[in-house]
Amino acid sequence: MGVVPHLSATQLYVKAAKLALDDAGITKNDIDGLITCISWAEPIMYHAEMIAEYMQIFPRYCMTAPSGGGTTLAMMHHAASAIMTGMCNTVLITMADSQVSGLSRDKAIEAMAGAGHPQFERPYGPPIPAFYALLARAHEHAYGTTAAQRAAVAVACRKHASMNPAAQMRKPITVDDVLNSRMIADPLHLLDCSLVSDGGAAIIMTSAERARDFKTKPVYLLGTGEGHSHEHISQAQSLTTSAAKVAGERAFAMAGLKPKDIDVAELYDCFTPVVIIELEDLGFCPKGEGGRFVEGGRIELGGELPINTHGGLLSHCHPGHPGSMFSITEAVKQLRGECGPRQVKDAKISFVHGQGGIMSTHCSTILGSERI
């Protein structure tokens, strides 16, 4: 991941799949379910079918997920449901894109400008950061959240990325670096915004019983939940509380756990204010306290709730739709104790949250190193 000019988007999907198969110690013939996401660099209508064809696998469950940062976790929800209802036994979820090398940076930004309503939003010229700036400003107004507090999120992610050789941006930054970076859409600075990247990742899901036969120790899906509140930001019922609240409540209820039980959290961080709103909506702190919560190293390694230990979308990589895949792979590695200098000590339970659209579509997932 990062900038990978020697692999096409399709090759990134398949390479990620191979790495996941090798990790699990199974072959492609063990896969009977396949989920992919659409690639912007190589858009193909029947994308999952094309990847299956390329790999020469013949699944009985095959789906191309539509789009957005909530997709990965929602697809785990679908895969778990497909396994539990007997549609298939072992699902490969592979997601990738080539947004730097397969699509120029300007083209990627232009493609993202298609996010607004074609008649009632796009004529006003909002780039993606502007949509999130609207949320940041509303949160600031309602709760007194500051630019320095938002910057603390970027600083924490970069600190963690500095300990991750795979991260795209590894040079540590300070709050002042964020505040002095170029203003993109007030009040968001350049370093409040995530990266544009190439990259891919894959995971394999199967039943706990079947996973016993795999060579690698699995982690367990303890809870998952979704919440969907709108598509267009101008139609959002609230600018300061998101459907992350519903998603998180459902996931915690399924797992029978509470926010205090979480050892490490990988929270969707396309822009810094999103993390602050998620921390509140997911119940890690009271509403309006997110800005204060992220201060003082609380979300850094060694703090009360380390977040985005791989560096997040802000510093690790952000290839578009597959962004949350790296939250999942990081959460799995944390639970297996494979993270070296950025390992959260004795991490047993991790929380992962993804959101897509403009705080539109949310999915929370709780993973554990043991079955509960």
């Binding site: 796009r122 004529p123 609207l134």
Partner: protein, 136 residues
């Protein structure tokens, strides 16, 4: 006008045509449900509150308040470059619905949440005028 040609000019649909016809005459039109009285924007086949099909077009007062805003410093496309810096805002219409818009007619730094604003129209083509808001 050359710059404006490459801006995303809306294509009215059967459903949204009355709104754009209103804009062309510099009238802000939204829908109101004859069954429950709710106003809604954008236009829909049914009332989004009670799902009645008795939705009617009405002229909005054009008065609104800013609910949130941002000052865009990097344009979404070169077509918006000459407008920099420009304000993208959400406003709450007096009748209730929320709209995205640009706040014009004042310095971007003067815009504030809660600021009263009034609709104004920018003619893009003979057919399409865009509803914007200025300080009231």
């Amino acid at each position: 006008m050359a710059e404006q040609i490459s801006k995303p000019i809306p294509s009215p649909t059967h459903e949204t045509r009355p709104y754009w016809d209103g804009c062309k005459r510099h009238e802000l039109r939204i829908q109101q449900c004859a069954a429950c009285g709710q106003h809604q924007f954008y236009p829909r086949l049914y009332c989004s509150k009670c799902f009645s099909e008795r939705v009617e077009w009405v002229r909005a007062s054009g008065r609104a308040k800013v609910t949130t805003f941002t000052i865009v410093r990097r344009p979404v496309s070169p077509a918006f470059k000459d407008d920099l810096p420009y304000v993208v805002a959400l406003v709450a219409l007096e009748e209730g619905p929320s709209m995205m818009t640009n706040i014009v007619g004042c310095a971007p730094e003067q815009v504030a949440i809660g600021m009263p604003v009034a609709v104004t129209f920018e003619d893009w083509t003979d057919e399409i005028s865009i509803a914007k808001f200025r300080p009231a």
